[in-house]
Amino acid sequence: MSSSGESNKKIKALFEKPEINVLIALLVLCIGLSFASPYFLTAKNIVNVLRQFSLIAILAVGQALIIVTGGIDLSVGSVVGFTACFGAAVARWGAPPGITLLSILAMGAVVGLANGMLVTKIGIAPFIATLGMMSIARGFSLLITMGVPIHVDPTWISVFGGGYVGIFPVSVITMLVIVGAGFVLANNTTLGRNVYAVGNSEQAAKFSGIRVDRVKIMVFTITGVLASICGLILIGQLEGADAFYGNGYELDVIAAAVIGGMSLSGGEGNLLGILVGAALMGVLKNAFVLLAVPGYWQVVATGVVIIGAVSLDSLRRKRTAR
């Protein structure tokens, strides 16, 4: 009797985690789709879906860390485009691939660092600081390319975008590694726990000897680097760079994080949830293609899913608050 009560409690606790509800929704959607379209469960399609949402999931790792501290980063999409254009320019200039790779990552870190400094040292609200950065980074992409896509000849660094290991694209493997690393960082390192502490209460974190500014700068910098990795992947995938790479990604990334259970008020959320959130959006997009529903409906559906996922969560909160 008591043991069944115990396990009931555990099951109940499991269902109270938002990411589990989203996972169930994802599975239901996948099962439904496998009946609706014979093409859905083919290896080719699955790999395709994975590749489509891999960039969003990579960016969402950084975004989630920022959201846990109570911030937000609107510049991620533009930074993807900017670092890609910057990298393409460096490659065209004749730098060896290794230097190109490092300079892309360094530029991502610099932009992220700048975001972090604006938020902490100047004290601008993250929403505003990164809104400005979003425009600046996009503007520089346009200045670098002058509106004309830059072609980049494939080298070994193109592997990140175009390479395969067996049937799996390297970008998908990169995504899984980064999400895994993000999860470990968040749960098993002092920096990760400090991120959660800051999101819970900056004051309490300060009293506990945590340097709040450093933690925030760190998560913005990590996000900048992740954006540059996405820039790198796009260069490889498309053999070049265009100023509009990553356009609008920030909204998909925030949506993936929110659907995956990150609370915008900060301080809580499971990093693995973002993988589920990104996957749900990816599968949904795939569903519209497979079922030949006009693409415009897809835009509506994305909105419905975001609102639906967050409503479920806040209704649950309201209930437990009583």
């Binding site: 959660y196 502490a197 000897g209």
Partner: protein
């Protein structure tokens, strides 16, 4: 007597999680009287005011207003009935004009439903003139007024609402003496018009000057209601602090300081204008009490030493070596620890687990290479302290929000004790905590001191300070007024250190 009461509080009881905030409190407020409410911090003054103003609802008992039983569901309902509260933190819209504030929610409109500014300004001018404060321009934005002017606007607003009972919570705390006497003049004028005023203050000399009757609260109970004419300061003080504090802990106080080492010395510390020229020494293994009124600069003093705020000038020495502390992280490296005043805001990580909450300070020591946390060590040490401090939690993974106040406080204590601080600051550690947990916390403090840790116990509760502390430091208006040894200290002496200064400065 019952006939001319405007408001009767009958048998009110109010619980908060873990504490009884008010217990069977009954009191009459007469028409046109100024009624003072005094008591120590946590005595229940604010709770009582908030119940009268409709912010809280009592668990038991009721309120009669103007002969009718009322049950205020929210402040708006209380206002409509005739009770207005003037909060310590004023509740004006800072970027709106004086007139807009006074007519807040009841703005005057013209025929087509737009706001009639002209009429509002002229009406407002009339109200301000009635109170004799027509030097305030109705058109000016509130944020451009001084604090005392803002208060007058609040009062004007309340009077305009035809309030019959005005509740003023520490209205003088941020006013100069000139502004205070002007405020008192207005209070007397209102009284003559038949408005009743409930006046909360820490400053006993103001109570003496203006009130007709006073009510003393202590530990959520009404101790006595007196006519001001018959009351003396000594009587009020002893009623406020009570004589029957049960000694839960019997400490062995330090009698001989001659060969005690100094672990912390503060010289001429200044912080903005909140702490002035503070100098003191803290000895190894002692419990130094720090008391005074709220706003005396006690918390600021400790937070400066701990690196939360940056000191303006002065020196801090740890083990005779001058140190620069720019952040709590520096203080922690020097062996300090601090339990802050606001448990929920400054202490707890409410959405994190008990385990995370306990290990946040000690985390670096629990991590190995690449700062990976050794999960087993973390679990083991958290488990050890949950057992040692008898923290009541279903598991280490419980979200901290769900613990009671006492257990949350013990979680924070565990966070520090496992890091073994040598100098430990506790800012109101027993505030809002039930008696059982209080006793446990006193025992921890005693054990810490015995093991050689030096403690500064900041507390507004004099009995607590007197039972726990080897020496007692009294602060007032940012200055250290004196340090009494346990032997010479008693409640009246401490209170006098505070009050005598008042008389001097007045």
């Amino acid at each position: 007597m019952g006939k001319n009461a405007i408001c009767r509080v009958v048998d009110i009881t109010k619980f908060f999680p873990g504490v009884v905030a008010l217990k069977n409190v009954s009191l009459d407020i007469r028409k046109g009287e100024i009624h003072g409410i005094i008591g120590e911090n946590g005595a229940g003054k604010s709770t009582l005011m908030n119940i009268l103003a409709g912010v809280y609802q009592p668990e038991e008992g009721h309120i009669e207003f103007d002969g009718k039983t009322v049950n205020f569901k929210d402040p708006r309902e209380a206002q409509d009935t005739g009770v207005a509260m003037i909060y310590q933190e004023l509740s004006l819209s800072r970027s709106m004009s004086v007139a807009e504030n006074i007519f807040q929610g009841r703005m005057l409109k013209n025929k087509i439903g737009l706001i009639n500014r002209k009429k509002m300004f002229s009406e407002c001018r009339k109200y301000l003139k009635n109170l004799g404060v027509d030097y305030i321009d109705p058109k000016i934005l509130v944020k451009n007024l001084s604090v005392s002017q803002m208060q007058l606007v609040e009062i004007t607003k309340a009077v305009h609402l035809n309030s019959k009972l005005l509740i003023m919570d520490e209205p003088t705390s941020s006013l100069t003496s000139g502004e205070i006497s002007f405020l008192m003049k207005i209070m007397r004028a209102l009284k003559n018009e038949g408005v009743s005023i409930l006046f909360i203050t820490h400053k006993l000399e103001e109570i003496i000057e203006i009130t007709d009757r006073i009510t003393v609260l202590r530990d959520g109970r009404l101790i006595e209601t007196l006519n001001m004419k018959d009351a003396t300061i000594n009587q009020m003080v002893s009623l406020m602090v009570g004589r029957d504090f049960e000694k839960i802990v019997h400490r062995q106080f330090i009698k001989d300081y001659s060969n005690k080492e100094v672990v912390l010395e503060v010289r001429d510390l200044n912080y903005e204008n909140k702490v002035k020229e503070a100098s003191f020494k803290l000895f190894k293994g002692e419990v130094l009490g720090l008391t005074g009124l709220v706003g005396a600069g006690r918390t600021e003093l400790l937070q400066c030493i701990f690196g939360v705020d940056r000191i303006s000038s002065g020196a801090v020495l740890v083990n005779d070596k001058p140190v620069k502390i720019k952040h709590p992280a520096d203080a922690i490296k020097l062996g300090m620890g601090m339990i802050p005043e606001g448990r929920k805001e400054q202490g707890m990580f409410l959405k994190l687990t008990v385990k995370d909450n306990m290990t946040m300070v000690h985390l670096k020591q629990l991590a190995g290479r690449l700062t990976f946390i050794k999960k087993k060590r973390q679990r083991d040490i958290a488990k050890k302290y949950v057992d040692e401090l008898a923290i009541k939690t279903p598991s280490l993974e419980q979200i901290a929000e769900n613990l009671s106040g006492g257990n949350q406080q013990k979680t924070i204590i565990a966070r520090w004790i496992m890091h073994e601080p040598q100098i430990f600051f506790l800012d109101e550690p027993t505030h809002g905590i039930d008696v059982g947990a209080k006793a446990e916390i006193y025992h921890f403090i005693d054990d810490l001191a015995k093991s050689g840790v030096s403690v500064i116990l900041l507390s507004s509760e004099l009995p607590e300070v007197l039972t726990m502390c080897d020496r007692i430091m009294v602060m007032h208006h940012g200055e250290i007024k004196g340090i009494l040894s346990h032997k010479e200290a008693d409640q009246v002496k401490i209170m006098k250190l505070i009050i005598e200064d008042k008389e001097k400065s007045a």
